[in-house]
């Protein structure tokens, strides 16, 4: 068994932690682009024309059936080939981060179309009409009235997606991205993987707390965005305790 030393764990921890920047970079970029793709897919799904609806559902099915590793390889090796010629040659020079962002944008595009549908359907219809009735334009009523409510409804899903992305992104080291996992592997490779177990412990100590913190953070945001639910919850609790007290008094 390899020796596990505290020094080595700290070494890998300190060495890989700065790479969190890369992780957050692709998470944020692919969340934004993915949501844009997702809204497009949502529009296509509700299109009048059958062909657009077909394209949208085909996209979602195909993406859902593809393992992220395979998609990562397809994008990384395939895009330059598909583009061909000078564009392809230019693409091969691009940093790996770009390919990772494209891959995860494709994935989020598929899942977020569903999230958008659910978030939008949870907002009462009258809300948009109320916006129009006070003289807002369509766009204004969307941005000022619908969007904030949709964002709040989608918060749990957004949190899940971010956490999933951080974990899935660890796969990107296979195409050479230096995120937390890739950086740790690079550092460990320099020492012929002699302290691999220490590296695993260090990685666990990075990823585990990170997901717990993010889970809490998103739960907190959701809590903060729904003050009336909070009130109701307290009221319900009070009701419950009241009822209990009455029962006990009996």
């Amino acid at each position: 068994m390899q020796k596990i030393t505290i020094e080595k764990i700290i070494y890998y921890y300190k060495g890989s932690l700065p790479a969190l920047g890369t992780t957050f970079a692709y998470v944020i970029i692919s969340m934004i682009i993915g949501t844009l793709i997702g809204s497009l897919i949502y529009r296509l799904k509700n299109s009048k024309y059958r062909i657009f609806r077909l394209i949208a559902s085909l996209y979602v099915t195909v993406v859902r059936c593809t393992p992220s590793l395979v998609m990562l390889f397809l994008v990384f090796y395939g895009l330059p080939v598909l583009a061909g010629g000078e564009v392809g040659a230019w693409m091969e020079e691009l940093p790996t981060l770009v390919f990772v962002c494209i891959t995860f944008s494709i994935f989020i595009g598929a899942s977020s179309s569903e999230v958008i549908r659910a978030a939008l359907s949870a907002v009462p219809k009258g809300q948009a009409e109320a916006g129009l009735s006070v003289g807002m334009s369509n766009a204004q009523s969307f941005v000022h009235i619908l969007l904030p409510q949709m964002l709040r409804n989608a918060m749990p899903n957004i949190g899940n997606t971010v956490i999933l992305l951080i974990k899935e992104g660890a796969l990107a080291y296979t195409i050479g991205l230096r995120d937390v996992m890739g950086q740790a592997y690079y550092l460990s490779g320099r020492e012929m993987n002699a302290y691999a177990v220490s590296m695993y412990i260090a990685l666990t100590l990075i990823y585990w707390p990170l997901t717990i913190i993010l889970e809490r953070l998103f739960a907190y945001i959701e809590h903060a965005l729904t003050p009336w639910e909070r009130k109701n919850r307290h009221k319900n609790n009070d009701d419950d305790s009241m009822r209990k007290r009455v029962v006990y008094a009996d």
């Binding site: 068994m1 099915t61 059936c65 590793l69 395979v70 397809l74 695993y200 990685l203 666990t204 990823y207």
Partner: protein, 243 residues
């Protein structure tokens, strides 16, 4: 570089020969994770003292770390542990010659265990307490009531999630090549690497995964319909679905 269609045509059957390996990975990992997941669900549902905390910590750990990391830990650390155990027992088995597929089963079942446990616990909580008591009242033992009455009903609620787990598991088998298991992704990597035609090789894998999962989803749909017989108030369910 141009896309080599001839290569795709030749590689597709070659890679398709490894579909059974992928399917075996899915089935065995599922068979490992389902009973353990059910056990964990039961422990969490009953809030068994001590055990439930351990299970919760385990679930949080598995949910909080990337699957690749879990695979590496299982693949690189378990042999050492097993070797030292066997050494102490004085056994002659050489763990380093064990088929790596076993590590793949273990590593892949870790995360599906957690999801199944969570789904079944939620399922158990939706089953009315009276169901269990009704079982006892007609003379079943606690074990029988649990097995024949409560569990099938919990399964109906958990079924969609379990279907998702199976699909996720199928997709996760693509990671098994890290553990030197040659399934379809691993095979594609090998033949793609031999002539530097990665893109074409992965196109084949892409097609195969879509086919496998399309078939799997149909099967799961059938199974779900079969299991929904156990749902309480099936008529209610049907009318809700109709709306």
């Amino acid at each position: 570089m141009q896309i080599d269609y001839e290569f795709i045509r030749r590689a597709l059957p070659d890679i398709a020969r490894y579909i059974p390996v992928t399917l075996k990975l899915v089935v065995v990992s599922f068979l490992i994770s389902f009973p353990i997941g059910a056990l964990f669900a039961w422990i969490n549902y009953k809030k068994v003292k001590g055990l439930s905390q351990v299970v919760k910590a385990y679930m949080s750990l598995i949910r909080g770390t990337p699957v690749v990391l879990q695979i590496y830990v299982i693949y690189n650390v378990t042999p050492y542990i097993l070797a030292s155990i066997f050494e102490k027992m004085g056994s002659e088995i050489n763990v380093y010659r064990l088929d790596t597929t076993w590590y793949a089963y273990l590593a892949l079942s870790l995360s599906s265990t957690v999801t199944i446990a969570e789904a079944l616990r939620a399922g158990l909580e939706t089953v009315n307490k009276g169901q269990f008591e009704a079982g006892l009242s007609v003379g079943l033992s606690a074990k029988q009531a649990l097995w024949h009455i409560v569990f099938p009903q919990a399964l109906t609620t958990a079924m969609p999630v379990i279907g998702n787990v199976t699909v996720e598991l199928t997709k996760a088998t693509s990671l098994a090549f890290i553990m030197a298991v040659t399934e379809i992704t691993g095979r594609a990597k090998i033949i793609g690497g031999s002539v530097l035609r990665y893109f074409e090789a992965y196109i084949c894998v892409f097609i195969l995964y879509i086919l496998i999962i399309a078939v799997l989803e149909q099967l799961l749909k059938l199974l779900e319909r079969k299991i929904s017989v156990y749902r309480t108030g099936k008529h209610n369910y049907m009318s809700v679905k109709a709306i």
